[in-house]
């Protein structure tokens, strides 16, 4: 039985998709929001480190599961390896209503003005497709503000001279510094850095009808037990449902966007919770399945006019896969630095995002979230024994006497770092899976060496008795901060969508998630993805003239 035609199908109820679904249903469009996962609850994992979204040795608490999902990753020239979602190479984020925004660390960053103008700021970088965004910071500023107020951010940028301009303050006061934060604040000031509290998508005071954070030790990787963390699952998605116009269908896996012979999308086929194939006809489709899965879905959406996939006429879908090279330093201390006040990351500096001599960018630096015991068992100075009595002695001495300062290095986009569709491997539903290959740009490592040396300096000034740096290598990027695979741009030859997230090739298909990022900023990406959700949603709302909109 064919399902009733709706105005819009949104694929993916994560950071971008949740926002778009709310924007469209609020404007009166009938919306179906398809999500492959279910509603997540605290009870599913409790405080279980081994299945937290950060560790996953026994599986991902918030999906996807190891039984039905697969990906293929490059294992050297011409060689491929099948990976499970709980394995590192899978490049997972999450699969549930809210996606990563349920279990994230909730750092709430706006990108800086220069992050939207990387090419103009730094010029061409050999081996990189570094480019300016087709939109500026000021275009996005009102939508950052909307994200901060509707979803909820606690912060204060008054002591950060590098903060981009903002019209309105944050809706909630910042979180106070924990013991690590206090120690690092004093040290930063001595060094002439400009420390400020990390802005958080987490309630510092009761907000939006939900409680304030209780500062537990388990935050990043977990759902919040008092619902104080702000994601799309407890803000915009419930608001979308409340309009009466949004039907959220969970455990529904989109297979392809159907495109008719005239080159317009006519709906989405998907497998429902009982693995039955369904077709949902729609006037327009928004793909918000995250950088890897959005690319996969578009590439799997083959049609007469677009035999290599939707939006892929110039072979740019899936290209420029980026994440963040997380670089930083660890320090060991004589005195206790641990106070069990979560989530843990409280202090940051933005002194090294730009203006670093000889480098095309940089990274924000912040102290790390609380390290749980199993994770900490792998944090050792280079060459230190990882087992035996030495392991125990180290855990006992330093579990409460260590700090880490890390930051997401803004990566140089690489054309051959990409998501394709594997020619053989299929998932549980018979849908060809994503295949990931390529590697980081060598400049990312250079930037990482620089920012990690600043992190080390900071820890030393704070009194560390021993320090070491940690800089990732040239491996495949992506992961929790995956972005860039459906670049927005003005030229159809070198981008996938226009500046409104609308495919150059098929005007009634939009993308609204991290895939749109031209570059990924030296910051965690979620708030920018949410802002883009509002930006794309705003364009659709303003140009919606009924079912025949977006057909030219």
């Amino acid at each position: 039985m064919a399902l009733k035609q709706v105005n819009a199908v949104v694929v993916g109820a994560g950071a971008g998709g949740g926002v778009v679904a709310k924007e469209l249903s609020e404007a009166g469009l009938s919306v179906v929001l398809l999500e492959r996962g279910g509603w997540a609850t605290f009870e599913q994992h409790g405080h279980d480190e081994l299945i937290s979204q950060r560790i996953t040795i026994l599986g991902n608490a918030f999906g996807p599961d190891d039984e039905r999902y697969r990906r293929v990753v490059s294992a050297g020239p011409g060689k491929w390896r099948v990976v499970l979602p709980s394995e590192g190479g899978y490049n997972n984020n999450a699969a549930c209503v809210g996606s990563g925004t349920v279990s994230y660390g909730a750092m709430a960053w706006r990108f800086m003005e220069k992050d939207f103008r990387m090419r103009s700021t730094y010029g061409a970088v050999a081996g990189s497709t570094l480019e300016d965004w087709p939109i500026s910071y000021s275009d996005l500023e009102p939508f950052y503000e909307k994200a901060e107020w509707e979803i909820g951010v606690a912060g204060d940028m008054s002591t950060n001279p590098f903060s981009p301009p903002r019209r309105k303050p944050y809706p909630m006061p910042p979180f106070p510094l924990n013991r690590e934060g206090e120690t690092l604040q004093a040290a930063a000031k001595k060094l002439g850095f400009h420390p400020f509290p990390v802005p958080m998508l987490r309630n510092s005071v009761p907000y939006n009808g939900r409680a304030a954070c209780i500062k537990c030790r388990y935050c990043v990787g977990f759902a919040c037990e008092v619902n104080a963390k702000c994601g799309t699952h407890n803000t915009v998605i419930p608001a979308a449902i409340a309009t009466g116009n949004c039907n959220v269908r969970t455990h529904c896996v989109a297979k392809e966007v159907a495109v008719d012979d005239r080159g317009f999308a006519k709906g989405v086929s998907y497998f429902d919770a009982d693995d039955r194939e369904q077709f949902q006809p729609a006037d327009l489709v928004v793909v918000s399945a995250s950088a890897t899965e959005t690319a996969r879905l578009l590439l799997n959406s083959k049609s007469k006019l677009f035999p290599t996939g939707a939006g892929n006429r110039s072979d740019w879908v899936g290209r420029n896969l980026q994440g963040h090279a997380y670089a930083g330093a660890w320090g060991l201390f004589e005195q206790e630095t641990f106070d069990d006040v979560g989530a843990g990351a409280t202090i940051a500096i933005s002194d090294f995002n730009h203006g670093n001599p000889g480098l095309a960018g940089g990274a924000m630096l912040a102290n790390e979230f609380i390290r749980l015991p199993y994770l900490f068992a792998d944090r050792r100075p280079p060459g230190a024994p990882s087992w035996g009595k030495a392991h125990k002695d180290f855990q006992r001495r330093f579990y409460k006497r260590s700090m880490s300062v890390m930051g997401p290095v803004q990566e140089m986009p690489v054309f051959d770092a990409r998501v394709e569709v594997d020619p053989e491997v299929k998932d549980h539903w018979g849908i060809p899976v994503a295949r990931i290959s390529g590697h980081r740009h060598p400049h990312d490592v250079e930037i990482g060496r620089f920012t990690s040396s600043k992190a080390e300096l900071w820890l030393k000034e704070a009194g560390a008795i021993q320090t070491w740096t940690n800089v990732p290598g040239l491996g495949v990027s992506g992961g929790q901060h995956q972005a860039g695979t459906c670049r927005m741009g003005n030229a159809p030859k070198t981008s996938v969508t226009n500046k409104h997230g609308q495919l150059h090739d098929i005007p009634n298909i939009f993308v609204a998630d991290g895939s749109l990022h031209v570059t990924n900023g030296g910051f965690n990406p979620a708030l920018t993805i949410m802002a883009l959700g509002y930006w794309v949603g705003d364009y659709i709302r303003k140009n919606w003239k009924g079912p025949k909109s977006f057909r030219s």
């Binding site: 480190e49 026994l58 579990y399």
Partner: protein, 183 residues
Amino acid sequence: MAIKYNRRRFVKTVAAGVGSAFLLPTRGADVIVWRFFTNAEARLVDAITEQIIPADQDPGARDAGVINFIDKQLASRLRRHQQVYRVGLAGVEETSRVMFKEDFAALKAEQQVEVLKALESGKAKGETWRKQSSSAFFRLIRDHTMAGFYGGPQHGGNRGYASYKMLGLDYPQIIGQNRYRRK
């Protein structure tokens, strides 16, 4: 060597299939049926994991039930590693015999450490390691030992939150009532 396995009896799962009866030296009446390991493998894993996290003033892997964690997980979520364990454990015995002419569990502690260091470095002797990397196997069992020691008791290890006690971490963490204080 007296091995203190835990007091509980385990139901033999269909999936494991290879579990076998094991007489507890210290408690003759109890019969433990492992889910995945054979008795001989269990004795070996017990000895390996106890070197990875040895007991001292705080409990080690054995007291925390790490072997129970690994056995349980190999029969469920970590089933995909079964073959690597089966081959790898045979390899550890082989290396142990090449180096010291005895089974691993019968070696002196220092000798056991030497065998494990040989595995870790990837230079362990034995035919087995032509089929499978000794350092990769060591990393795997080391990682599972850490997970069993530091993870939640619901997964079979960290009995009585032994590792949390060692680190001075309260569990459960009840905000406002924490016994842990700054020192």
